[in-house]
C-alpha cells in the first residue's frame, strides 16, 4: 500500500481537486483506493456526495476507539472508498497532541488497511501544523500543487528541506503547477522553465479552467464527467507521473 498526500500550506491551490481526480483515475486502473478527506471544510466528501460525518468524530479515530475501517464509505465508483471529513477535524492538532508519538499517529491508523487498499490518498487542510507533520511522516509521495509564482517555489524549497531532515522514512516530493492561467506571461514562463530544471517537478500542468470548478456542480471528478477535456488529460498525465514516481504496484 502506498500513501499519497496532497499538501500545500496555502488554500485554494487545487489540493482537493487533485486528490479527487487522482483517486478516481487510480481506481479506474484497478487499484483499490481510499481517499481520506482530512479537511474539515469537507470538499472531497461533498464532491462524492458523502455526508461529512464520522461517528465519534476525529477524536474516536485518533484515539483508536473507532477503527478507521468502520468509518469508510463507498463512493459511486468501483474500487474507490472515502473516509469522510468531520467538522471535529478542525481540532485534529489538539487530538494528535494528546496522542503518543503524534507525528507517527496517522501512519499507525492506516497500517491495518494495507491489505485492503493499494493506495491511500490524504487530502490535507491548508496549514502547517502537527497534523501536517503526521501526514508528511505517513506519506510515500507528497503531491504539491503550486501556483506559478516565485514565492510558491520558495515555499516548495522550504518543504523539501523540512522533509529531508526526517529520520528514517522520508516522502518523495512531486510538485506540479496548478491553476495555470494561460493569459499570464509569468505563469507560462515559470511553468515552462521549472519542470525542465528540477527533478521534483511534474511535467503535467493543471490549467485554471471552469470545467474544474464545475466539479462542485456535477459532484464528481472532472476526469469522470468530462474525460476528454484538457484538464482531465493533465490530471491523467499527473497520475501517471505520480504512479511511476511512487513505483505503485497492485496487491
Amino acid at each position: 500500500m502506498k500513501i499519497f498526500a496532497t499538501y500545500n500550506i496555502k488554500g485554494g491551490v487545487g489540493k482537493t481537486a487533485t486528490a479527487v481526480n487522482l483517486s478516481y483515475l487510480a481506481a479506474m486502473e484497478g487499484y483499490r483506493v481510499l481517499l481520506w478527506d482530512l479537511d474539515p471544510q469537507a470538499a472531497a466528501s461533498y464532491l462524492f456526495r458523502i455526508k461529512p460525518r464520522v461517528k465519534g468524530g476525529g477524536k474516536a479515530l485518533i484515539q483508536g476507539r473507532r477503527p478507521v475501517d468502520d468509518a469508510i464509505k463507498g463512493t459511486d465508483f468501483d474500487g474507490l472508498d472515502l473516509l469522510p471529513a468531520d467538522f471535529t477535524y478542525r481540532n485534529l492538532d489538539l487530538m494528535l497532541d494528546s496522542a503518543k508519538q503524534p507525528a507517527r499517529r496517522l501512519a499507525g491508523l492506516l497500517a491495518p488497511l494495507k491489505k485492503e487498499y493499494d493506495l491511500v490518498v490524504l487530502d490535507c487542510p491548508p496549514s502547517i501544523s502537527l497534523l501536517s507533520e503526521s501526514v508528511l511522516h505517513a506519506a510515500d509521495l507528497l503531491l504539491v500543487p503550486l501556483i506559478p509564482t516565485t514565492l510558491s517555489v520558495r515555499t516548495l524549497d522550504q518543504l523539501t528541506d523540512f522533509v529531508s531532515g526526517f529520520n528514517g522514512h522520508k516522502p518523495a516530493v512531486l510538485a506540479f503547477f496548478s491553476m495555470i492561467d494561460r493569459r499570464k506571461r509569468l505563469h507560462i514562463q515559470i511553468a515552462a522553465d521549472l519542470p525542465a530544471e528540477r527533478s521534483d517537478f511534474a511535467t503535467a500542468v493543471i490549467p485554471a479552467v471552469s470545467v474544474i470548478e464545475q466539479m462542485s456542480v456535477h459532484r464528481a471528478p472532472v476526469t469522470a464527467f468530462a474525460p476528454r477535456t484538457m484538464a482531465a488529460r493533465q490530471y491523467r498525465e499527473l497520475w501517471h507521473e505520480a504512479r511511476d514516481r511512487a513505483g505503485l504496484t497492485t496487491g
Binding site: 462524492f48 456526495r49 458523502i50 455526508k51 475501517d69 468509518a71 469508510i72 464509505k73 463507498g74 463512493t75 459511486d76 472508498d81 459532484r219
Partner: protein
C-alpha cells in the same frame, strides 16, 4: 468488509417486460430513488462439477464466465464467498477435463482434494444478460447496486430462468440498503431469492444439483415390501447406474466411470448369486453368464488404470532405481491401456451389450408377484446371515501356510457380505450399519492390499517378459521394475502379517453380534 447482498427473483408474472427501471420504480420512496447503472453486460456461464457432484456436495461451486475479455474460472463457497479464481488462456481448458488441465495455483490446489481423479464436466450452461440499477439516497448518492440477471439456460435443457435480483450495499450504507430491500420485496412479482445461480439454472431446466443415477442404497425399501419387487427395484437401479456410466467410460472422461460401472456389475452379479431364489425361476441363471462377460470385459482396462493411478507413488518409492528409468514402463502401460480401452469400447458398443441391457430391463419390468410371499425384510435377514456365515467359514481355517487362493476366496465372500448389507441398506439405521461393517471394512482393506499386491506383482513380471520380447525395455527399466516387484512382495507380506488380527476382529463375538443384530433389524 464486504456485506452480503440481498437476493430476489422477479417472476415473469410481474409483467414488467424488459423495462427494469419501470419494474423497480414502484419501490421508490422519499429517501430512495432508482437510476440506470450502465450498459447491459452479457456473458456465457458454465458450471462445472464431477459426474458425482463432489464439488456441490462439498459446498463448492465452480463457474466459468466467458465474456469478450476472456474466460475466468471462479470457485465459491457455501455463502458465495470467492475462494479462488483463475483467468484462463484462450482454449486452455475444454470440458470435460481432468484437473491437470488447469494451471498450477490456488484454484487447482483447492479443487484437487475434492475432485480427486474425477474430471470436471459442465453440469449447466447459460447465457446471462445483466443490467445494473443504482439505488440513490436524497443526495443522489449511490447506496446500493441492483444487478438484474436474466439467464437463458442452454444446458442440460433450454429454458428461461426467472430474473435474479441481487441488491448489494455500497460500503457504509447497509442501513439505507435495508430500506431499499424492504421496498423491493414489497413489489408485486418480486419474491425472496433462494438458492444459487446454478440451482436457479438447473431448476429452470427441471433438474436439481446433486442428482445421481441411483446407487442401490439410495432406494427406500420398506420392511413389508415383497422381496421380489424389492429385488427388481434394486436391480433396475443398478442397471441405471451401469448405463449412466457407459458414456463416460466410452469417452474415457475419467477412470471413475469405469470403476463405478464395474461396481454396478459386481453388485448385480452378487445379487443374482445371493438372492436368486427371490427372483423368478431361471432369471439369474439366464443373465449371470452375461454379467460375468461384462465384468471380464472391463477388467483389463481397470487393472491398468489402477497401475497408472498408483504409478507416481510406486515410482517415488524406488530406492535404487530412478523414476526416469521407469519411463519406458509407463509408456508401455499407457499403450497397453489404450489397446485395452479400445477393446472395452468395442464391447460396450456391441450388439451383445445392447441386447444384455435391453433384455435385462425388460426382464426386470416383467417381474410379477410371486406365489410365495416373502418380504424384503425376511430376505435381508436370511441373506445377510448366510453371507456372514460364509465369510466366517472361509476365514476360520486359514493358517500362515494357506495358499493365496484361500485369501482371495475369503475376499470374495467379504465383498458379497458387504454388497448384501449395502443392498438392503435403507432398512437399517445408518449409524448401526456403519458400526456393523467396521471390522468387515478393515478386513477387506487388508485382503485387498494382499491380493492387489500379488496381482500387480504377477502382472509386472508378465509386462517385463512382454517388453523384453518386444525389445521395448532397456536393462535399467527391467531392473527398476524388479525393484517395484520387490516392493509389492513386501507390501503383500505386510498385509498377510496384519490378516490374522483383522480376521480375529471380524470374527470376534462383539463384531458377530453387531452384524447379527443388523440382520435382525431388517425384519424388525
Amino acid at each position: 468488509m464486504p456485506v452480503a447482498s440481498r437476493e430476489f427473483v422477479l417472476h415473469d408474472s410481474a409483467g414488467t417486460g424488459p423495462d427494469l427501471l419501470r419494474a423497480v420504480a414502484g419501490a421508490a420512496s422519499d429517501s430512495i430513488a432508482w437510476a440506470n447503472g450502465g450498459p447491459v453486460s452479457t456473458y456465457r456461464r458454465t458450471w462445472l462439477d464431477t459426474f458425482d457432484w463432489r464439488l456441490y456436495r462439498a459446498g463448492l461451486t465452480l463457474e466459468q464466465v466467458t465474456a469478450s475479455a476472456g474466460a475466468i474460472l471462479t470457485l465459491t463457497g457455501r455463502d458465495g464467498e470467492v475462494l479462488a479464481s483463475e483467468r484462463l488462456q484462450r482454449g486452455a481448458a475444454t470440458w470435460p477435463s481432468l484437473l491437470t488441465a488447469l494451471p498450477d495455483g490456488p484454484l487447482r490446489e483447492l479443487l484437487e482434494p475434492v475432485a480427486g481423479v474425477r474430471a470436471l464436466s459442465p453440469v449447466a450452461k447459460a447465457a446471462s444478460s445483466v443490467a445494473e440499477l443504482r439505488a440513490l439516497n436524497a443526495d443522489a448518492k449511490t447506496i446500493a447496486r441492483l444487478a438484474v440477471d436474466r439467464m437463458s439456460v442452454t444446458f442440460p435443457a433450454h429454458a428461461i430462468a426467472p430474473a435474479r435480483l441481487s441488491l448489494s450495499p455500497v460500503r457504509g450504507y447497509v442501513g439505507q440498503t435495508e430500506k431499499a430491500a424492504r421496498a423491493l420485496a414489497a413489489l408485486p412479482g418480486v419474491g425472496r431469492g433462494r438458492g444459487s445461480a446454478l440451482e436457479t439454472a438447473l431448476a429452470a431446466a427441471g433438474r436439481r444439483p446433486g442428482e445421481l443415477p441411483g446407487k442401490a442404497a439410495a432406494i427406500a425399501l420398506t420392511p413389508a415390501m415383497p422381496a421380489r419387487a424389492a429385488m427388481a427395484a434394486i436391480l433396475a437401479e443398478l442397471l441405471g447406474s451401469l448405463e449412466a456410466n457407459v458414456p463416460g467410460t466410452v469417452k474415457d472422461v475419467d477412470t471413475e466411470f469405469l470403476h463405478d460401472l464395474r461396481i454396478a456389475v459386481r453388485r448385480t452379479r452378487s445379487a443374482l448369486k445371493l438372492c436368486c431364489n427371490a427372483l423368478p425361476d431361471g432369471l439369474a441363471a439366464r443373465f449371470a453368464p452375461e454379467f460375468r462377460w461384462l465384468g471380464e470385459l472391463t477388467t483389463p482396462t481397470r487393472d491398468l488404470d489402477v497401475y497408472l493411478l498408483g504409478f507416481d507413488s510406486m515410482a517415488a518409492g524406488l530406492v535404487s532405481a530412478t523414476e526416469i528409468e521407469l519411463a519406458p514402463f509407463r509408456d508401455y502401460l499407457l499403450k497397453s491401456r489404450a489397446v485395452a480401452h479400445r477393446h472395452l469400447v468395442r464391447g460396450l458398443r456391441s450388439a451383445r451389450f445392447r441386447r444384455l441391457t435391453a433384455d435385462w430391463r425388460a426382464a426386470l419390468e416383467g417381474v410379477g408377484a410371486p406365489s410365495k410371499r416373502t418380504t424384503v425384510a425376511q430376505l435381508a435377514d436370511t441373506k445377510i446371515g448366510i453371507a456372514h456365515r460364509r465369510a466366517l467359514r472361509a476365514g476360520q481355517n486359514l493358517t500362515a501356510s494357506s495358499p493365496s487362493e484361500s485369501l482371495h476366496d475369503l475376499r470374495k465372500r467379504c465383498k458379497e457380505l458387504r454388497y448384501v448389507v449395502e443392498m438392503f441398506g435403507s432398512l437399517h439405521d445408518p449409524a448401526q450399519r456403519w458400526q456393523a461393517v467396521r471390522e468387515l471394512k478393515a478386513l477387506q482393506d487388508c485382503l485387498g492390499e494382499f491380493q492387489d499386491a500379488e496381482v500387480q506383482r504377477d502382472e509386472i513380471r508378465a509386462f517385463a517378459a512382454q517388453m523384453l520380447a518386444d525389445r521395448t525395455a532397456p536393462a535399467e527399466t527391467l531392473l527398476a521394475m524388479g525393484e517395484i516387484a520387490a516392493g509389492l512382495a513386501l507390501r503383500q507380506r505386510a498385509a498377510r502379517a496384519r490378516f490374522d488380527h483383522a480376521f480375529a476382529n471380524f470374527a470376534s463375538p462383539p463384531s458377530k453380534a453387531r452384524l447379527a443384530a443388523l440382520a435382525r433389524m431388517s425384519a424388525a
